[in-house]
Amino acid sequence: MEKVYKVVEKITFGLLSPKLIKKIAAAKIVTPELYDREGYPVDGGLMDIRLGVIDPGLRCKTCSGKLKECLGHFGYIELARPIIHVIYAKTILNFMLCTCKECGRASLEDAEIEKHVQRLKRYEEQNNADAFRKYTKLVRNLAKANKKCPHCKAKKELVKIEKPTNYVMEEGNKRMFPNEILAWMERIPDNDCYILGCNPEYSRPNWMIQTVLSIPPVTIRPSITLETGERAEDDLTHKLGDIVRINQRLFENLNAGAPEIIVEDLWDLLQYHITTYYDNEITQVPPARHRSGQPLKTLSERIKSKEGRFRHNLAGKRVNFAARTVISPDPRIAFNEVGVPTEIAMELTVPTRVTEWNLEWLKKFIQNGPKAYPGANYVITSDEKKKKISPESQQQIVDELVVGQIVERHLIDGDISIFNRQPSLHRLSIMCHKIRIFPGKSFRLNPAVCAPYNADFDGDEMNLHIPQTEEAQAEAESLMEVQTQIISPKHGLNVIGCVEDAITGLYLLTKEISMPKDEAIQLLISIGVDKPERFRKFKENVSGKEVFSAILPEDFNFVGFSKEYDGKTVGDPEKTAGYVYVKNGKMMNGVIDANTIGEGNGTLLRDIHRTYDTVTAVDLYGRIFRLGNAVLFKRGFTIKTSDADMLPEVETKVRKVVEDALSEVDGFISEYKKGNLKPMPAKTVEATLETQILHKLNKARNEIGKIIQRSSNPTNSTIVMAQCGAKGKVLNLAQMAAIVGQQALRGKRVEKGYRNRTLSLFKENDLSPAARGFIRHSYKKGLNPVEFYFHAMTGRDSLMDTALRTPKSGYLYRRLANALQDMKVEYDFTVRDANQSIVQFSYGDDGMDVSKTDNGTIDVKKIIEGVRGE
């Protein structure tokens, strides 16, 4: 087909006039029959080959194109009597209310009409569609208000609509037939049309009442051949068949001079068929059905709603070369890799162009065929023919393989892929990974990249796409690969960092572990560090810090703080506690924990990213992650129930703190009962009491947390995890070991339940901690029934809260993202929308690129020191 390129300057919507319908039609349809006895389309039938062809082998009579060459042509039928178009029924009524039935003029004075015309013309010139539309509405209301025609002085006919397509005169309840209305609409002069909001150049009110009906090409309503050889027609063809049949009968009856009742019945039936042809979901009309009882899918159902053309076909894109399965963790692969099951690797392919250098290599793939890994599924020959590789064709294809052909080979290690987890809320939800082939059925991914995808392994599934051209692969690799996304654009912090075991491992390594030389070397070699010159420097006993230093580059310097740091002491980084100091690739002081290598605040990782190129940085990250895990593999790490045991003297201390707090709370309550409690500013006495009680009880719990932390054994694994930030807080241990504490419902103590009390076993207005959801036992000791009940209450509340909030906030975010999607920071730092209108005069008021900062701040001193080489 010939291609025509033109720029679309403007689009005007209008109605098809009967004249135009006939003009664009390739055929007039006169018979409801579809095929003759040989199964050949009947001339003048709905499948007429002048309307296009859907059978292979036939040629279109209009354009002589074959199937897929001919896009189809419209036809038309002449209706025996005019028919109201349902969609315009209301618009027609509007015209009836605004004009005179006798002379067809709008119910306004000539001078007035002229004034409105001028004004509307002006709006049209200004391209101000909104004002145009508003003004025509105003004019319509003016015309409607006039009860007498100013031109022929006739009294205005008041018409009602009887849904969906019948019109009744209010006076005498007499029905008005479409032919009368058609005559009326034809009488309305062009200028009057124009001021009522209908540009007569493109659409006239009388065109809303149809005298001819356009028949869509067969190509948009193809019939399908069932296995039985029977033909099943499209819903639209069925509907059109009904219309043509009834129309024929109406013609015959009219010609035979049948009584008016019969004609009217047929006319209404035709109206029904045409109405449901446009829209089969009108409330007042019973939907037209198949013989099976299932409603027909006619024109408007094809377009609207979720399954319609827009949302299903146009906005909803489907792609090939994609895979989806469950994800599972594998800390041993790099974080920019993804493990792909062999099964998937044999289905997804990469088109590889044959060159003289890879000819022999590709031959091996073809020899393996589609059923052995690594094989190939198709070969595209130089004349663009696709050949399937099968055991029979295999040898011939190998022999004929020449430079320039394309082999669609199976995925192999190192191929480029795009990996995605829905909901794709931000840039990091779709990243590029290199492929690693594994047995099994799940995608493997490094747990370090769970955070940007927001993935976990409780059954999450993810999607994988294979870019099919070299351009796409190069683009994905350079723009979307995981290592290009380490720093989050929203705050300039690293989103990828060590998680759980890796943090614990490095913490233990740098804090307490030391090992013999051979073990240290073995450990380092196992994670891929092979630096003999460094190993030679090891003494007989190697400290953990030295092992960690061995993976760092020799020119790396770093000053940071661990979680131990109190936030104020300033001192020599080499000696002061809380400092983490690396000098020339050698760790001098401190321990590694979540503050230096964790996700979100890994200062060490960020410095590496800033100092070195991506390849080095990724390599380093991989080593850091793997070292942490390897240390834990070697050492072993477990938590046990005795982690939550307390020494007798600690237990006494804890009990004392609890009892002191409870008696103090009792004091508050009795003060309150006596009326001696002084209200705090802006609070009632009751609220003051509540605040004081909550404050006291929370303080007691925090104090117990501290006691537990201080008294616990340094080998206590639960404490170790909490201290290095790998998992859990000290509070969680305190809840297990000592006391669960106050249960809060919406920020308050428990109040709900019975009248003035929480449970029937308490006295009314009992304000004591025990009656308001205070749990003084620990998880380990066990809760009593009342405590258990309160605990279940808050548990259920938070469960419901998350279940209800997630979809709400998700939709909120979606709307926000859609509203802001074309905002852009321009080169002059202004934030502008798609019209180049200014939204903010300087991005964030300071014009700073947040992704280049540390959580919104820039440490100028550090930069100066860096430049001066200090």
């Binding site: 202004t830 019209n835 180049q836 209108s837 200014i838 939204v839 005069f841 964030g844 700073m848 919104g856």
Partner: protein, 81 residues
């Protein structure tokens, strides 16, 4: 207070609004290389500019506090609606 209407522009939370002269507003438009239509709008009936004697098309300069920079200047053009 009862007879006089309260001027919201004097409230502590309302940033300082000033009307720019022809030349000043032209300078602003030139600085950002925009037409008046591309600036954010402010209604001519907005209480904060009631005392400023403005007409549609005037540019209002607003001096706001900002969490990132102490003070910032914002410009809005008076719209007829």
């Amino acid at each position: 207070m009862a007879s006089e209407k309260y001027d919201v522009a004097k409230h502590v939370l309302v940033p300082k609004h000033t009307k720019l002269s022809e030349e000043e507003s032209q300078k602003v438009l030139d600085k950002f290389n925009v037409t008046a239509r591309q600036l954010p709008k402010i209604s001519k009936t907005d209480p904060t500019i009631k005392e400023l004697d403005t007409k549609p098309g005037d540019v209002i300069e607003i001096e706001r506090k900002s969490p990132t920079v102490e003070k910032t200047k914002f410009y809005r053009v008076v719209s007829s609606a």
